[in-house]
Symmetry: C2
C-alpha cells in the first residue's frame, strides 16, 4: 500500500494505491511530489507506462523529490508511474553478475548486500549482464547505492538481463558499482530476521 | 588510499591520501570535484576540519559531485576534508537504536543492513540516540540510504551518540529511516565473505 500527494510535505491532492498505477496523469496529477510507502516495496518511474528512471521505494516517508531521486546526474523531478516489486524471498536472494553482456566473461555470485563491488574484488566499475536466480535486487551506478538505479527481479524476463537495454529504458551505460537486495520482509515477528524491533522500554 | 582531483571526471590537479586530510584548501584546491577510493572506507566532509555534511566513500569511482552528494535537501557541492573510517570488524557489527535521546524509550538491536527501519517494525521516522557496540555504521535520513548521512563508529565517543548534535555538526533532526554497516572487508580471499569475485571465466 502506498499514498501519494501532488505537493511537497504530504499536502495537496492525495491518492492511495494497492496495485500498479501506469500513470498519475490520469488522476489529474502533474507529478507526484511526496509519498509514503505503508507496506511492500515499490518501484517508481519517471515517465508514464513504467518508463524512464527507476526509483526503489521501501517502507517509509518521502516528503519531497530529494528523498527518492535527488542523487542522479540528470534530475527530472518527475514520478509518474508505479508498480509493486515482487520479492519472493528476501532471505534467499541470489544473483549472478557477469563481466560482459550475454552472460560472458568473469562472474560473481551474490547473496548479500554490496555497497561497493570493487571492495569485494570485482574489477572495474561495470557489470555486463545479470541473472537473478531468486529475489529482487537493485543495482546502482555509484558506490553506496547512489546514482541511477535499476531493479532486477527473478519474476521478470525469467531473471535474465543480458544487456543494459534490458535493465531500464533510461540506462545508457554498463556502470554498476553497488548492488543490494530489495527489502520486503515476510514479517519480523515470525523470526525471519535477526532484528527484534521494537522491544518494550527497560 | 584515496585520490582526489579538482575537476570533474578525474581531471585537473591530483592528490593522493593515505591518512586524514583536514583541509584540501591547503593544497590549493577550491574543492574536490572527483575522486577514487582505492582501499579502505572514508568519510568526506563538506567543510574543513571535518565539519558539515558527511559523505561515506567506499571503494570505487566518483566522477562528479552527483556520485557522492547529490541526494541531499541542501546541496552545497563542497567536499573539503576527509578521514578514514575505522571498521574493526564488518562481520561482527552491532548497534542499538533508541526511541528517545539519552538512550531512553523503546530500543532495537541491529547486526545487518536495513534499507527501511519501518519495514522491520520500527515505529516512526526518527531515532533518538545510538550506541555502537562494534563496527562502523552509516544512518540516513530517508529509506534506501538516501538524504543526509551520519557516520557512527564504535571508536568515536565510546560508541555513544546520545543526541543528534553528537552525530554531526549539520544534523538538525532525529529523522533516520535507513541504517547499514560501512563496508571495509578484511579481504575476501581469506574467506571472510560469502562472495567469490572474480572467478575465472567458464
Amino acid at each position: 500500500q502506498m499514498v501519494v500527494w501532488d505537493e511537497d510535505g504530504f499536502q495537496g491532492r492525495r491518492h492511495e494505491f494497492t496495485a500498479e498505477c501506469p500513470s498519475v496523469l490520469e488522476l489529474g496529477f502533474e507529478t507526484v511530489r511526496s509519498l509514503k510507502v505503508l507496506s511492500g516495496a515499490w518501484v517508481g518511474f519517471e515517465h508514464a507506462g513504467f518508463q524512464g528512471q527507476q526509483y526503489v521505494l521501501e517502507r517509509g516517508e518521502y516528503p519531497s523529490w530529494d528523498a527518492w531521486g535527488g542523487n542522479t546526474a540528470y534530475p527530472s523531478e518527475r514520478l509518474t508511474s508505479f508498480r509493486p516489486v515482487a520479492c519472493a524471498n528476501h532471505r534467499d536472494s541470489r544473483l549472478t553478475i557477469f563481466e560482459q553482456e550475454n552472460f560472458l566473461g568473469k562472474k560473481g555470485e551474490l547473496s548479500d548486500d554490496y555497497p561497493s563491488l570493487q571492495a569485494m574484488g570485482w574489477e572495474g566499475n561495470e557489470v555486463g549482464s545479470f541473472h537473478v536466480h531468486s529475489g529482487a535486487w537493485v543495482c546502482s551506478q555509484f558506490p553506496g547505492y547512489r546514482g541511477f538505479q535499476y531493479v532486477l527481479e527473478s519474476d521478470h524476463h525469467s531473471g535474465d538481463y543480458k544487456h543494459f537495454r534490458e535493465w531500464g529504458s533510461h540506462a545508457q551505460t554498463f556502470q554498476v558499482q553497488s548492488i543490494r537486495r530489495i527489502q520486503q520482509p515476510l514479517g519480523y515477528l515470525k523470526g525471519c530476521y535477526d532484528i527484534c524491533l521494537p522491544q518494550p522500554p527497560k
